[in-house]
């Protein structure tokens, strides 16, 4: 049986892992390679690395970091942050990334999703979506949550699926950093209308939040950052508790 995935996310700035709360207030959390290795040993199913600076001068640093991660880590990982061309996606996959995640650039030019999917396969094309609930609607935000777009989340997820996205990483900005649990409503709504894997993100604070998201939505992955970085939730304990709640995990 296919297992639900527990995914650890690392926001990378200047080669180090950092974690913001509600998309601001950056704190340092350590060296990405040793953290990634620790997670792989503890039973994390996948890793996501997001380059939150994503400037041109940081591209080379990111590529060499990806090369280093790929040489040492034997579980799948996704890399994202500022990817705006097919070539950048190819460079990251060549360096050893299993998937690349696009966000703002795909909002600006949706064809980017199709281009990446056609060249590298749909399984490589992850679309990260930052969504925020405002005025009775879930809206898509771009630029790392700084700019509100006119896209409704429900419309955007349908469009990215049609363009060939292989996976959606859905982050609720309202929940991110709160540790109050995942946004079950929008996650359930999205997983009901698309037929590609959806990773729920934003708000995980304890083990019960993972139980909730896997039992109340069709998300096949759940992502968290700080609670893993700071050891607030132990991965093997999390897996055991999920199994005890009849949720299928590795």
């Amino acid at each position: 049986m296919l297992k639900n995935r527990i995914i650890a996310c690392m926001d990378i700035q200047d080669g180090e892992v950092v974690k913001g709360v509600n998309f601001v207030d950056i704190q340092r959390a350590g060296d990405p390679i040793s953290l990634a290795q620790r997670y792989a040993n503890e039973g994390i199913d996948e890793l996501v690395f997001l380059d939150i600076t994503a400037t041109v001068e940081n591209r080379k640093t990111l590529i060499s970091l990806v090369t280093e991660i790929a040489s040492q880590i034997n579980i799948p990982f996704t890399v994202g942050g500022g990817i705006s061309t097919q070539e950048q996606a190819v460079d990251l996959v060549r360096a050893g990334a299993d998937k690349v995640s696009v966000n703002s650039a795909a909002i600006k030019r949706p064809e980017l999703i199709r281009e990446i999917a056609e060249l590298l396969g749909s399984q490589c094309a992850v679309v990260a979506i930052d969504t925020k609930y405002e005025d009775d609607e879930w809206w898509v935000y771009s630029a790392g949550g700084r700019i509100k777009t006119s896209l409704k989340t429900i419309d955007w997820v349908k469009q990215v699926e049609q363009l060939g996205a292989g996976e959606i990483l859905l982050t609720s900005m309202n929940n991110d950093g709160t540790k109050d649990g995942f946004a079950l409503d929008i996650t359930a709504e999205v997983t009901d209308i698309v037929n590609i894997p959806v990773i729920a993100s934003g708000g995980a604070g304890n083990i019960n939040h993972f139980v909730e998201v896997f039992s109340q939505t069709k998300a096949t992955g759940a992502l968290a950052a700080s609670i893993f970085h700071y050891g607030e939730v132990n991965v093997s304990q999390l897996k055991q508790d999920l199994i005890n709640n009849n949720i299928c995990v590795r």
Partner: protein, 193 residues
Amino acid sequence: MIAILKYNAGNVQSVENAIQRLGYKTIVTDDVAILKSADKVIFPGVGEASSAMEYLVERGLDQVIKELKKPVLGICLGMQLMCAFSEEGNTKGIGVFSNVVRKFPPLEIVPHMGWNDFKLLEGDSIFEGIAEADNFYYVHSYYATLNTCTIAVNDYILPFSAALQKDNFYAVQFHPEKSGKIGELLLKNFLEL
């Protein structure tokens, strides 16, 4: 020396890293002489079937692979290209295995992405020390049908070939290079054949 087939598909780097971590020397190549003289050949791949097959045929690599006498391991797209036909771009395959590759019907989430167990039909040596409850990492939208060469079955939407074997040819749908310690063990078993 372990030769890793170089062609227009991604993920060659991850496979090379995994084999090097096990202490073997590798070469990524499409040189026929090297492919023939290597101890083992790995046929990796993530990508689209018809364009990959076109690349192989243009260089005569399809025939070279088929005629290899050394142990060959196809991974993911590599496995699918070793079959007779793929619905992905409606392309002929190399034909080491006579089964065909079809697209998953959209009855559940496609791609089949994540960790999944398997059922072993024959206790082949590449699965030595690996239990059916152990998980490998899969990511694919197309699957190889079952046939007499199927040595391991996975059931997602429908039963399909998780692993194939015929003479010196081995193939797996999952990614051992991304499957943690279990994947490492399978690669080690293959490399020690």
